[in-house]
Amino acid sequence: MNNKERLMIYPYDIQSAPLITHQSLIKNYNITALVSPNGWGLNEKDAAFVYGGRPLGIHIQSDFEGCLDFCDTVLFAEHDQATDVKKVILPKIKKAAKQQKNILCSLCPNNEIKEEISQLCSSSNVHFKHFDYGKEVFYVDKLESITRTLCSFETPVVFVMGASDKTHKFEIQLALRDNFINMGYKVSQIGSRNGCEIFGFHSFPWFMRSTSINEIDRIILFNHYVKQIELRENPDIIIIGIPGGISPFSNELHNNFGVHAFQISQAVKPDAVIFSLLYADFSPDYFQSLSNKINHKFGYEINCFNLSNNLFDMNASVFEKRFMYAKLDTGLVDNKTEYYRKLQIPVYNILNSQDSNNISRHIFDILSSYGNRELA
């Protein structure tokens, strides 16, 4: 018997696409509707349109009210489009709550709006869950309560990092999770974004984004956070998704200077690393050279690359003062990865289902090879 709640995702765009491509990882919900505001130009388009993948046969809709009738819960999801939450999202939350729909929220509304939603849900007698960067399940209560010494790990750690956002890092994290669980391994995981609890793992922790905690304390906290996860969950593998990129693109587009990548790399040493790139016409020797640069900067080499189908658009980015990308057909990426196939460090296309398995297999082989030698 299927006890899963019927879930509508609103507003659906590239950010929430992994929910649909990895539905099997979602234990408590069946996704029954993908809805976006009409102005986003996605109405009646295939769900894969938002990330340039092969059609999934599921269509995006814009009739929020009409779709409410066919769901039990609405996930108000983080999204890429700059949208006025008060004007566009909040009225929809109110409408859903009034129609007795449970509310999940991975958006980060301000406290005032959050309180308003909470009260409304309470008076409508519906469930409200706000994914707040893992605040509810933070295993380390106080900085003062932990030692300043960094812990080491018994469990192999895999990093998923990238040149910037929009490199399908989250898709890679979910593919690894899916494949390692299917191989029979117990996976602990910290995602590169908020709302990962819906997949059963930890969101990127709130303290890494806190301005009231200094950089050194963040590094120590992250290290102890991962250690606590290792101790409490006793996994076979730990997968850590690193938000953002590793270095500035230009004076205007500083890519947050790769601060998260630096801090996490100080906190935890990975056993395997996947690096995802924006699409470009790379020469074959670029990959080794990038791996060397990352080794100099962070202290580890790259085990495999993913080439995303998003091409950075510098002119549009400078004009818009935000990162802008051209989304290419994933077939173009397949052509490229085929060309790079024989490189020493393999290059994959996560949007290709075969490569999705190949990445996991490659990481598995890397980690297995470590089992052949052991430190005393």
Binding site: G39, G41, G52, T83, V88, S250, E320, Y325, A326
Partner: protein, 489 residues
């Protein structure tokens, strides 16, 4: 010394010698002997370089070792977005300019609808609301990766069709839910009564009012159908907006079309001193050269005055002239140096194998739709040019035509590959349109003036840098007391 001919351009200022390296997209200051050597090299003179001393030779060796002075050229002229044009056309449209009507209550002598142009003519034809709605739907469906949508109303005079505009606004506000929506309009200003302005304010319209200068100058070109001047009407409406809608007034812009046969000094004085316009953002353009044989040749005094005002603007950049004395007609030159030179001079390793000269706009992010629902890359191109008609609201984009417009460098492939101004070229398809095709001959005729403009800009830029101008922060970097020019001390 150097065996090949480097792909560079040499130039000098009063204070220094330079070369622009096309491959590295950088300007480097060099000594005079090195400059002389490189210049001779470019001119193909034999035995050049015999005067170079050891230090000069080391400089050249060092430059070559750092990747400068390469002779590499692009091997194929191709716009970088050719390979993903489908993506751009499907996802990145952001602006739709609607030709509301072809009718106008003015008969301006330089208007693109006047007899001086082959572009179009005034007529009673106007856009139907059905066509407009289809256009707005098209905008929404082709803009999934644009974060803001712009809908502009163009004419004729768009305010002749206020009800049509209201219908469009109502429809767009309904179907563009979830995206920031910006309405704009270029108007002759004659129909801006209180009721209209209140409506425009309520719907956050950005308006640009056409006003060419003081009464005599404005009225010489901009007339009602009955041949009477329009200045009084327009200025009174601006006065009304200033008094009754002061907040909205602060956001409006004026567009002045400058006729170089007029007295720029009196136009300048008007815009700097008249209480009704002095605080309004001023945009200016010159009478269009596209699609006409009637080229306007200005008076020498016009150019002399303008050059002097530009000189003052440059002095203001190095704190040698108070900004309050700078003409709004000269600021555009500083803007050009900052946006089109300084910000574009970003060092690269090399020219790419496939590249296209700067110039063509994307032809897909903004779209002009005429009363029939035909698409054009912008409102300035000819509606009777088959080349420029890049689609229709019913049939969609004509990708082949778009590719042709954004690859005009292919018209003159060999010349473009050899041109040092390759990266900074500003020739767009409209400038080479013959109405039946795009003309290589027409394009080549404009190359000289493009190179002169770019060289002039490089010289101005380097001169200002020598005097301490900082194009990043707008402040002067060093003490400029040794600068030989000074004004208003």
């Amino acid at each position: 010394m150097i065996k090949h001919i480097p792909f560079i351009h040499v130039f000098k200022t009063c204070g220094g010698h330079y070369f622009f390296d096309v491959n590295r997209n950088s300007i480097l200051r060099i000594s005079k002997p090195v400059y002389d050597y490189l210049k001779s090299k470019l001119e193909g003179l034999p035995d050049c370089g015999t005067d170079l001393n050891q230090e000069d030779v080391e400089t050249l060796t060092q430059l070559i070792s750092e990747g400068f002075l390469s002779d590499k050229k692009v091997s194929e002229i191709a716009n970088p977005i050719n390979d993903y044009i489908e993506y751009h056309t499907c996802n990145r449209l952001s602006m739709l300019c609607l030709q509301t009507t072809q009718q106008c209550n003015f008969r301006c002598s330089y208007c693109l609808y006047s007899d001086n142009y082959t572009n179009r003519k005034h007529s009673d034809r106007k856009m139907s609301i059905e066509t407009a709605k289809k256009g707005i739907d098209f905008l929404v469906n082709h803009s999934s990766d644009s974060h803001r949508l712009y809908i502009a109303f163009y004419g004729g005079e768009p305010l002749l069709e206020l009800d049509f505009i209201k219908h469009c606004v109502e429809y767009a506000e309904e179907i563009c839910e979830g995206k920031e929506l910006v309405f704009s309009m270029t108007t002759n200003g004659s129909l801006l009564n209180e009721k209209v302005v209140r409506y425009l304010q309520e719907h956050n319209f950005q308006i640009m009012v056409s006003l060419d200068g003081p009464k005599d100058i404005h009225d010489s070109n901009r007339k009602f159908i009955n041949n009477k001047g329009t200045f009084d009407k327009v200025i009174n409406n601006l006065k009304m907006i200033k008094n009754k809608f002061p907040e909205y007034y602060s956001g409006i812009a004026i567009n002045a079309v400058i006729d170089t046969r007029n007295d720029l000094e009196s136009i300048n004085n008007f815009f700097m001193n008249d209480d009704n316009v002095k605080d309004v953002y001023l945009n200016h353009s010159f009478i269009s050269d596209f699609y006409t044989d009637n080229r306007v040749t200005g008076q020498e005094s016009f150019y002399t005055f303008r050059k002097y005002e530009v000189f003052k603007a440059f002095l203001s950049k190095i704190n040698r002239c108070d900004k309050k004395h700078v003409s709004p007609f000269a600021n555009s030159d500083l803007f050009f140096l900052t946006e089109c030179i300084h910000k574009q001079l970003k060092m690269t390793d090399n020219l790419l194998e496939k590249a296209h000269p700067g110039g063509p706009c994307s032809a897909v992010e903004r779209l002009f739709m005429n009363v029939d629902g035909d698409f054009y890359p912008c409102e300035r191109v000819s509606e009777i040019s088959e080349t420029m008609r890049i689609g229709n609201v019913d049939s969609g984009f004509d990708i082949d035509k778009i590719l042709k417009l954004i690859n005009i460098g292919r018209l003159t492939e060999e010349e473009c590959k050899q041109c040092w101004a390759f990266r900074y070229c500003n020739l767009c398809a409209a400038s080479v349109d013959t109405l039946s095709d795009l003309s290589a001959e027409k394009k080549l005729a404009l190359c000289k003036s493009v190179r002169e403009t770019i060289e002039g800009a490089f010289i101005d830029y380097c001169t200002l840098k020598e005097c301490g101008a900082d194009f990043d922060n707008g402040e002067v970097l060093k003490n400029t007391t040794d600068c030989r020019w000074s004004l208003y001390e």
